[in-house]
Subunit: 209 residues, 2 copies
Amino acid sequence: MSGSTSSPLKIGVLLSGSGTNLQAIIDRIEDGTLDASIELVVSSRPDAYGLKRAERHGLQTLTLSKEIYADPIMADEVIAAELKKHDVEYVIMAGYMRMVHAPILMLYPNKVVNLHPALLPSFKGAHAIQDAYDYGVKVTGVTVHFADDKYDCGPIIAQKALVVQEGWTVDELEKHIHAIEHTLYPNTIQLIAEGRVNVRDDGTVSISE
Amino acid sequence: MSGSTSSPLKIGVLLSGSGTNLQAIIDRIEDGTLDASIELVVSSRPDAYGLKRAERHGLQTLTLSKEIYADPIMADEVIAAELKKHDVEYVIMAGYMRMVHAPILMLYPNKVVNLHPALLPSFKGAHAIQDAYDYGVKVTGVTVHFADDKYDCGPIIAQKALVVQEGWTVDELEKHIHAIEHTLYPNTIQLIAEGRVNVRDDGTVSISE
């Protein structure tokens, strides 16, 4: 990989829950197929299991209290300062159940990456898998995109389709969506690490060879 | 195919333009892989090239004048009466640049089939391919669905994803979308002909074995 001659991409991971995508990123870093290093893990919830995963792998963590999060801009100022202090180059949202605001977005323009469990622009919002299932789509999938100041609206970096099999329960659909996430997300971060992801002037993303 | 012991599915085709999807259906009927017969082709425009294709294959055609179409409900009453007269069982919209209204929908509930050149519910409307291209999606596709009284909103029968390749022009995207249409649409009509397409009470579609 082209990153082999340069230093790993320094990332910060934002999460709120079990951290399965954090784990997928950690695993790919440890097996040498993702040229990144996790400089900081930020959790919006002190009881998030993702924090345990981070600590188990010796990663630095930051947990903000409910009181600080009560003012979203102030919270993001604190987070932005910590990301900067840790020399983070890209911010990876991994099950972070909050928006990122100007203090982070202005410090990391088109460098905050998010994952969505549907083929955007379909099924925005917090219940994408259930919504797609209820709609009865025959194809859904996963999107990796840059975050902006609107939910689920920034430039699309990568998408992967999933054929919904006849008779699947919503739980089965969810399991397959998550399996795609755990491959697509590290793969996409690796593209960024290789310097191959570029946002064009029109807001679309090109991937160079 | 299971239709081999029963009579072919009687369809009517509605079009407004060049009729490439009509041609795809005709070709599949003539090569024996689509167990349907086209009982009537309705064009909303007298100069539609699709009419020439229909006549070339000896199909009955109906063209309504602008004056009749000026009253959409009256136009659909005329069309519905003609479809019924020709014993049409399913109505196939194939580049028909108009909505179908109550007179047709009530005669053919969940039996009016439409094609959309995107993965619904993304990119509804008349410029789906361009809109998807401009949005910068990495995956788009084709949807076959039952029409209802809202644009591009009825139960989804089939979808097929298309990976947008780096560097494609919108014309290249369009070419690949149309190629998918010309396979997916006849395949889906064949599923209907085999009696395998069922709309559930919740408005989603199941395909039986």
